[in-house]
Amino acid sequence: MSAVENESGRGSARAVAIASAIGRFLVIAVTTYLGLLAVTFFIGRVIPIDPVLAVLGDRAPANVVERTRREMGLDLPLIEQFYIYVKNALSGDFGTSVLTTNPVMTDIRRAFPATIELATLGTLIGSFIGVPLGVLAAVRRGSIIDQIVRIIGLIGYSVPIFWLGLLALVLFYAKLQWVAFPARLDVVYEYTFTPITGFYLLDSAMQGQWDVFWDAYRHIVLPASLLGYFSLAYISRMTRSFMLNELAQEYIVAARAKGLSERRIIWAHALRNAAVPMVTVIALSYANLLEGSVLTETVFSWPGIGLYITNSLQNADMNAVLGGTIAIGSVFIGINLLSDLLYRVLDPRTKAG
């Protein structure tokens, strides 16, 4: 009850606190960006791959190679190259991708929605199954259910995702034909459907094209379930340990003594408190998926950001790698900020503070 009084009494102080938190965060974000840029840039320049080779291939004659090297500015000193890059980046120009010949940001705007769609679905699946499983395991600690949840988690941690992905493809796609083949849409729809946002499920629903929606669903369900399973493994383990921690607290004993139902104690009290650190766990797991699960994207021919950056890196397409890194960095920083704010909203103590 006191929390409410405090909130109204110290409203302005709280706004100041939040503003300064955001300010601090911005400073950290800018330094992180610059560091990220510098490290990626210099790693990109010291890898033993000639970027000109990436543009021209092995068969280009020597004069073309030399000219291209000059055109790409690779004959300038490293520090000057970096300066030019940062200058252009600040004005929103991240250069052109060698591999796709598009401006890097155009590519990322294409690739990112594919990854976000997959990661969001994966995280939803992971949370909606992982949290209850974790709670169950904590409540029935040591029981057979706890063991099963542990094994599910263990498999999720230790089995390579590409292997499980292929296995799932063989079973659900090749044998049972329950899901559609690796891609975002069937060939038939791919060229009759115009995406708006790049989230195919959303786009098709917005346009009322329910056959496309169904098709997109049949393509995304398997990779999303797979990602969901891997985040489930992590989320259920973390939920279990947070719950065990809460269930050992004195307020639980007090609640039991008061005669509250077990269900209410677990779901309304213990989970409520465990939810605060859970937000960070889920946000981190989401951010991880957003980095683009390279292996999942490869196995499922999913044209997302992970596949894009890996492809670019292997071909020394540094503009694309840098642009992609910045995009992912932004999302990571953004999610951290968001989970920080959520933390403040959920945790009653920070309201008082």
Partner: protein
């Protein structure tokens, strides 16, 4: 308490059941591709441009071959010759310098514009002036941006004249004109899309000849027209009803980017693609055994080899070079790692080239190799490294060679690396041994002869980075012989000169040539007329139909 627990459990179970039902409850749907569309699963992530004046990648060659026409085309019946495409006939002047082509009457581009000799001249002009990777195929006839207007010109609407600087073998000139860089573009259409450029020391012209637009655009007259290329995703082609030859049977061809062999196989088995193009031996095997599917293959102009850097004093010994050729277990490789994807082939000209010889004199012979090593004073063997691109078949080949070299006391250390990384090292001549492949640039024996048997300047500053140069193999006599073969007008004699060069390379070179690549494809049995060609730009899909 009991009830609570029960409720808890049943609620969780119910939720779980609901979610799994939602996840996998999709009704079985047996996939089939549309009847008028050919869908191929193909690793097309090497495509960087669709402009025929710029593109030099293998998957682009296939698209260009299907969407653009040439003056002359490789004769698939006899690949040492060319046959008419847009040109109806041609003559070579007595001095061997002037080639005059007469175009077929009534030709049209996909856009509806008529095809004239002016379009041909513009196509040559832009390819030479853009000076991208494949431009040297035309430049090597003494043509540059400054003289192309004079050397490649339209005499009238249907007559095109091409002038070269030396009396080259006509087979050489014509073979080069069958390369994709000599594709004919729709000049009127391209000129609507040129972008202005500020001339510089590197680029003297005031416009880009439509290069920016043609990277993704299309201005050709082939059996199919390019509708769309989306990098790393798909290439879509549609039938060109203005095509001058036999019209394509299917309305549409879609290449979908799929990198993984096993994923391609699954999609083929399920019927979501009609053709799988990047299959590894185990997946190929499984497809061959499936009664709904079949496989096809064709030898391509790519040879796999290991090469010994002559900067390494041990490897520079002539006996050591020969010893290596006896230390590869060709038979074992051919029955395992290369099964279905390669044919043992030890000379540098791929089968199908003019003058190619098909004798494979070397076999694994450790005793003979030891004898040779002893002659070189290396009876106890030595240690050496090999740069190997990760992935197959190179890794498997390298491991097999490592083992057979060991039998003769040579200790081989394998340095694995990403493809571009090993290549960077190779091109800088910093390797001991390199394992790689070489695909010919155009369908003429000179392409491979020039790289394996010529090295005009072996210094580090040498401008011509042939494979002989990359391995510091200094060969003035062979270089002269290679040049001489270019000027031999008698095709029979020219073929003999290449036979001689191949024999010398077998006898003396630091190249251990192992096999010629077989390109393979898995297909659904309802496809008719699908065939892989002898080169990547002759994988024609026009004749393909479905039952």
């Amino acid at each position: 308490m009991m009830m609570e627990k029960f409720a808890l459990r049943s609620r969780a179970l119910l939720a779980g059941a609901a979610v799994s039902a939602l996840l996998i409850g999709a009704a079985p749907a047996f996939a089939v591709t549309p009847a008028d569309t050919l869908v191929e699963g193909f690793a097309i992530d090497d495509i960087i441009s669709m402009d025929p004046g710029e593109a030099f990648e293998l998957s682009t060659a296939e698209v260009t071959g299907n969407t653009y026409d040439l003056l002359v085309r490789l004769d698939l019946g006899d690949t040492s010759k060319v046959k008419p495409d847009l040109a109806e006939s041609w003559t070579v002047s007595d001095d061997g310098l002037t080639y005059t082509f007469k175009l077929k009457p009534g030709l049209k581009f996909a856009s509806g514009n008529p095809i004239t000799a002016a379009d041909v001249a513009y196509s040559f002009e832009r390819a030479v002036k853009l000076d991208k990777s494949p431009a040297f195929i035309i430049d090597q006839f003494g043509i540059s941006g400054d003289n192309v207007a004079e050397k490649a010109k339209a005499i009238d609407d249907t007559t095109f004249q091409f002038t070269v600087d030396k009396a080259y073998a006509p087979s050489f000139v014509l073979n080069c004109l069958s390369a994709t860089v000599a594709s004919i573009v729709d000049a009127k259409l391209v000129k609507e899309h040129v972008a202005a450029v500020t001339p510089s020391a590197d680029y003297k012209w005031d416009n880009d000849f439509g290069n920016a637009w043609l990277k993704t655009g299309y201005a050709g007259s082939g059996a199919y027209k390019l509708r769309e290329w989306r990098a790393n995703e798909a290439v879509v082609m549609e039938r060109n009803d203005n095509y001058h030859g036999e019209k394509a049977k299917l309305a549409r061809v879609i290449y979908r980017n799929m990198k993984e062999s096993s994923a391609q196989r699954l999609a083929l088995e399920a019927g979501d693609i009609d053709v799988a193009r990047n299959l590894e031996p185990n997946d190929l095997d499984a497809i061959a055994k499936n009664d709904k599917l079949t496989t096809t293959s064709a030898p391509k102009g790519t040879v796999y080899y290991i090469s010994l850097n002559q900067k390494n004093p041990n490897l520079a010994e002539p006996e050591v070079r020969q010893a290596f050729k006896y230390l590869v277990d060709y038979d074992a490789l051919s029955s395992t790692i290369l099964k279905g994807i390669g044919e043992i082939h030890q000379s540098f000209l791929p089968k199908g080239d003019l003058g190619a010889i098909d004798t494979n004199p070397f076999k694994l012979d450790v005793a003979k190799a030891k004898e040779l090593l002893a002659k070189a004073g290396l009876a106890d063997g030595f240690s050496v490294t090999m740069d190997v691109r990760t992935g197959q078949p190179t890794t498997g080949m390298a491991e097999s060679i490592q083992q057979t070299l060991g039998q003769a006391g040579i200790k081989l250390e394998i340095i694995p690396g990403d493809g571009k990384q090993t290549l960077t090292k190779y091109r800088a001549r910093n390797h001991d041994i390199y394992i790689g492949n070489w695909g010919q640039d155009y369908f003429d024996p000179n392409s491979n002869a020039q790289t394996f048997a010529s090295n005009p300047d072996n210094s580090d500053a040498g401008k011509s980075h042939t494979l002989a140069w990359r391995n510091s193999w200094d060969i003035p006599d062979l270089t002269k012989e290679t040049e001489a073969a270019l000027l031999e007008k008698d095709t029979g004699k020219r073929a003999d000169m290449y036979k001689d060069l191949q024999q010398k390379i077998l006898d003396t070179s630091p190249f251990v040539i192992i096999h010629q690549q077989l390109e393979v494809a898995g297909l659904r049995k309802n496809l008719k007329g699908f065939a892989l060609g002898p080169s990547f730009d002759t994988n024609f899909v026009g004749p393909v139909s479905k039952e």
